[in-house]
Symmetry: C3
Subunit: 143 residues, 3 copies
């Protein structure tokens, strides 16, 4: 299978918290990095999500917010992955920014080129990828 989502992060289910419609899934990315995903309860059951299960977390690049500098705000977004910018490719309106995490995983974000300028994003700059739990798609290998 090939998939257009720029971010395909491999990990293991660490915890499952089921609600009435949705479930919150904690994913261990294996090198100190963690990701939380909200999926429907139906998906949770069909995919057999339970602690220890290997999963893939898919996140489209336009769903990632980039943050730099000391944060004077606490955010509701469950996922705030701190790393270092490794690449910036600029288009007419948007730009793609790649952030490498300490454990080796890379997260791509599509943001406006205006934001790239304001945040001073360039290779080597420290930056954090912010991802809402409801924006993460989980996948499991077919049995």
């Amino acid at each position: 299978m090939k998939i257009s989502a720029r971010n395909v992060l491999r990990g293991t289910v660490a915890a499952v918290k089921a609600g009435s419609v949705n479930a919150e899934i904690a994913v261990d990315l294996g090198s100190g990095d963690h990701l939380t995903a909200i999926v429907t309860l139906g998906s949770c059951t069909e995919l057999g999500l339970e602690p220890g299960k290997p999963v893939v977390a898919l996140v489209k690049a336009p769903w990632v917010i980039v943050m730099t500098g000391d944060s004077e705000l606490k955010l509701s977004a469950r996922n705030q992955l701190a790393g270092t910018v490794t690449a910036v490719e600029t288009g007419a309106v948007n730009a793609e920014v790649v952030i490498a995490l300490p454990g080796g995983a890379q997260v791509a974000a599509i943001i406006t080129k205006e934001a790239v300028k304001e945040l001073g994003l360039a290779p080597g700059v420290a930056a954090t990828a912010v991802i809402k739990a409801s924006h993460v798609v989980l996948g499991v290998p077919k049995a």
Copy 2:
């Protein structure tokens, strides 16, 4: 009314499953295609969503993931609409890909042009549009 969302899919509510904050709505697109949407319980009540009600499902093109080939993954995304690519328009960073479903509906996705190359997307190629239920906005005609 005119709306910027590229994807405006007409259908009928097939089922409603209410939770404490959200509700999961199954929409029959009328030609074998189905779509699931998660909306707040408040919206569900205000829109009077119940089986048989005609609805419009709105999905912005950047919220659609495109997948090709035999899937060795099962995904948590409720909506995986298989069809055929009918158009690809490429920009500096992004590209718009249109997928026609068997029933005649069309789904547009905005993905990176890098993904278009990797997936070999071109008119005639089989592809699947993947859409999270929480990314679908529902609309009903005003009474």
Copy 3:
């Protein structure tokens, strides 16, 4: 802190409705404009969200749908902010549209340039920014 989200709206928590996994937060933007956000219950607790608390609502521009004209549809999206277009910047595939709200806040949307044409978006045109509650990230100042 600097953040790539184009939309940073300041307000005050007006109401909190907790579910089993998520919570629905109503935010008063202070000049008649309101915004609803869905965050996980965990975030709600950690951020100490309760009526009267100052918050910042973050929304990425690609998550905003733009609507014009008399709406013959009622939408499930909790947030429908009516205002006036103040700027349109067009790229190869996408365009950034800025809508000023009556209270002075501005909302930026990234939509396809095709949609800009179809909706006749230009400075001075009345338009509504549509934002799903699950697409709003909330932030609070660190104690």
